[in-house]
Amino acid sequence: MIQRLFLLLLVLSVLLRAKEYNDTVMDIEAKLFPKIALLEERIANNPSPYLTIAIIYTEPDYNVAQNFKQKIESCYPNKLRDKKVLVTLAQFGLSHIVDTDALLVLSHEPRELEIIALWANKNKIVTFAYEPAFLEYGLTASIYIGKATKPYLNNSIIKKHGFVFDPYLLQLSKFTH
C-alpha cells in the first residue's frame, strides 16, 4: 500500500513538474544571495540606490517564488550596504526582464537553466541557483547547505564573463569548474 502510494506521488510530481523546495534552505539563501550579489564589483559600483533581484520561475513554482520574495524582503526590510533590496517575479518565457542586478532561478530544467544562464551571462547579470548542482548549466553562484553553509561559485563562468567578486567571498567560497 505504501509502495503504491509513493509511486503515485512520484508520478504525480513528475506530471505536475512540481519540485521540492526546503524552507530552511530558502531562508538561508534569501539571506545570503543579496549579500553575494552586493559583493560583485559591477553591482557594488552601480550608483543606483536599489539592488534589484528578479526571481525567475515556471508556473508550478509561483508560490515558491512568492515565498522567496517575501523571505528576502523580510530579511532586508532596511537598506543593505546603502541599497534598498527590490525583489521582482518573472515567469520564464512570459516576462520581459529589464534592468535587474541579479537573477534567482528556480527552475530545475537543464534546458531552461541553460537558456537563462546564456542570456544572463551575455548581459553580465549574476545568477543564483537553488542548488549548487545547477551551476553546471552556466549559472554564477549558489549555496550548499549541509552540516555547514558554503557559498558556491562557478569559476569558469566568473572568469569567462568577467565577474569580479570580493576577495573575502572568494576566500570563503567553494568553486565548481
Binding site: 549579500k35 543593505l80 557559498p151 573575502y168 567571498l169 576566500q171 570563503l172
Partner: protein, 487 residues
Amino acid sequence: MIFRTFIDKFTFFFWLIFLVINVPIYIFGNIYFQEILKKSEHEKITLMLTTLEPAIAFNISFEQEDQLGEILGSILKYEDIQQIDLHFLHDNKFLSKVKKTKRTTKLFTYEHSIIDPFEKTEIAKITLYYSNTNLTKITQQVFTTIFFIFIFALIVFSIIFFSIRTDLNALKTIAKAMSEYSFTKKMQPIVFQSKSEEINTIANVTNQMIANISDYLLQLKSFNNELKEQVKNEILKQQKQERLMIHQSRQAAMGEMLESIAHQWRQPLNIIGLATANIETEYKLGVLNEKKFDEKMEIVSLNLQYMSNTIDDFRNFLNPERKFGSFNPQKSIGEVLNILDAQLQHNNILSKLIEESSITLYGVENEFKQVIFILLSNAKDAIMLQLQKQIISQGTINIFIKQEKDEGVIEVCDNGGGIDENILHSIFDPYFTTKSNANGTGIGLYIAKNIIESRMQGSLRAKNTEEGSCFTIRISLVNPEKENEVI
C-alpha cells in the same frame, strides 16, 4: 669644581662621559623600552585584529563557523595569545578557542568589535587574552644585550683610560719634575721609558732643556759677574769723572773767585795805599802826630779787616765740607751776592734778592751756594755780552725766593738776552758751552743740575723770558731724614 691636576680633570671627565653615554641607555632601556614593547605588542594585536576583522566579519555574515574556527586558530598561534572568545551578538552564542599549554603569567585582555560589512552594525565582539611572556623574553634579551654592551664599553673605556693614564702619569712625572725645578738646585734627569714616542720625546727634550738651562745659567752667572765688574768699574769711572768735573767746576769757580777777590780788594788796597802814603808824606814833612797816625792806622785796620772778611767769605764758599742740614736760602744767596757784588757793580749789573716767602731748605749749603754762584756767573756773563753789544745799558739780575705748595722755588732771572731755543734742551749736558774756550768749561750747569736733582731731590729748569732767561730751582720742603749726614 677644582681639579688640582690635569689627570684628575681627565679622570673626572673621562668617567663622566662614560656615565653620560651609558646611563641614559640603561634608563632608556629600563623605563621606556618596556613601554615601547608593550605599546608595540598592543599595536601588533590591534593590527592583527584590524587585518582579520573583515574576514571574521564576512565569515560571521555568511555563517562560516568552520572558517571562523580556522581564523581564530590562526590568531591563537601567536605566542602570547592564550585564549580568544568570539561573542555573536545576534544569538548570544560564544565561540571560544583556548591554548592547550596555558601559561600562569598574568593575562591582559583586548576587546574588539566586529562590524557587519553589509549592515554596518556590530555583530560580534572578539576578546583576546594575552600574556606578556614573549615581551618579557624580548626585554630580558634586550637587557642582556645592554648589559653586555655596558660591560664591553666599560672594558673599552678602562683599556683606553689605563693606557692614556700611563702616558698621563709620565706627563705628571715630567710636570712634577718641572715644578720642582729650581735654578739653585741641581736636578737629576727624568728617567723612564714610555711606550708613547711623544712622551719620550717630551722627556728627552725636557732633560735636554734642563741641561741647556744649567749651561745657560752658568754662562749667565759668569756674564753677570762680568757685568757687575763692568758696572762697578763704570761707576767708579763715572764717580772719578764727576769728581774731576766738580774739581774743574771748582777750579773755574776759584778763577771767578780770584777775579772777585781782585775786585773786592782793589778799593781797600787803594785806601790802605793812600793811608800809608799819607803817613809817609806827613812823617817826612814832620806833621805826623799821634792823632793823625792813629786815624790813618784805624783806616788801614778797617780795610784790612774788610779784606780779611772777604777772604773768610771765599774760604767759607770753598769749604769742601759737605754737611747735610737745614739752611736759609735767603742768607746763602746773600753771601754769594756779597762775593759777586764788586764784579756786578763793576759791570753795571744791578742785583735784587726778593724774598716772597721765608723758607728753609735741606741739603748741603755750600753745594746750594755753588749752584747759585754758577747761575749768577752765567747771568753776569750773558748780561756783559749784551752790554758789550750795547743791546742793553743796564744789567739786572732778579732772584726770587717763594713757596709753591710743598716746594721751595728759587728763580734767577736776567735780562741777558736769553738762550737760543735750538740749544735750550742741551744746556744741561756736560761740556756744553756757548762761551769761548777761555771763558767756559761747559760743566757749570751740568754740575748745578746734578747737585739740585741728585743731592737735593729737586729740579732745575730753564726758560726764556722777554728780556732774557729764567732758571727755576724747585726743592721739596718736606725734610727727608738725612740730618747730620756727612758724605
